[in-house]
Symmetry: C2
Subunit: 154 residues, 2 copies
């Protein structure tokens, strides 16, 4: 099936992938467009088809911290929409014109309730991804901590 | 049912809780005992019954960073055992004598495969928990970042 490989969907059979594909909506996005902002109500998850999307967070009203760049077809973002409290945890800005596949969280919830296997696979993949992001972020925190200690002892 | 409330199990019916309880093993732990170390193969998830457990990570061979304290009955730890690559992401040390309910990851996998609803609920709860830890950790990172900037500009 011609569907971008997305970590969320890994392990789903061709038939289950088709059911998932049926609830996606292709959406065009333009350079500089904000797809969503941190703390917005999170209603949709997105899978990149073409273009580049930047995920950022505000350190302060004046300072933006880049968190990651979504550039490979199949990369997904906006996964906070799939879990409580359904608020985006980062902001997403389009860096280059492109297209995304958008999935409404209610449509996905319905599909996952109807087909528990799809639900289990997607949620397990999401938990794996979040744990790996958590480890990376802890690693960064350790680096800052070590630098700070060096700085204070120098 | 007399079973400690654990975030992983929220949303499970009494009957499903009983099935989960049936695969737990009560285990005694003593003060200062290491329950597992960071990067050990993660074979079991734990639910606290009594006592206090400290989760830590090593910043460097000589420096330990506390990450959280598990002290309320029902708090759980060692959840990395439930997802790939099945390696503990932190170390757990017992701070006070106590008892935990240990669950072997293969027993839990079997239960979740037999009963997809249990699987979906546990994995959704785990993803929610991990997202909330990720947000907290990013928040700490931002604070370090801001302090570093202040420090450099002062």
């Amino acid at each position: 099936m011609d569907f971008p490989t997305c970590y969320l969907l890994q392990g789903l059979s061709e038939e289950k992938l088709k059911r998932f594909a049926a609830i996606t909506h292709e959406t065009v996005m333009s350079k500089e467009q904000w797809i969503y902002h941190e703390n917005d109500r999170a209603e949709r998850v997105f899978i990149l088809k073409t273009g580049i999307v930047e995920l950022v967070t505000l350190v302060d009203s004046y300072l933006e911290l880049p968190v990651s760049i979504i550039r490979s077809p199949g990369d997904c973002f906006g996964t906070s929409s799939l879990i409580e409290p359904h608020l985006y945890s980062l902001s997403a800005r389009c860096q280059e014109d492109g297209t995304v596949l958008a999935v409404d969280r209610y449509d996905l919830r319905k599909l996952m309730d109807e087909d528990r296997e799809i639900g289990c696979v997607i949620m397990t993949n999401l938990a794996e991804h979040l744990l790996s992001r958590l480890k990376e972020t802890r690693q960064e925190l350790k680096l800052h901590f070590k630098n700070l200690l060096k700085f204070m002892h120098s």
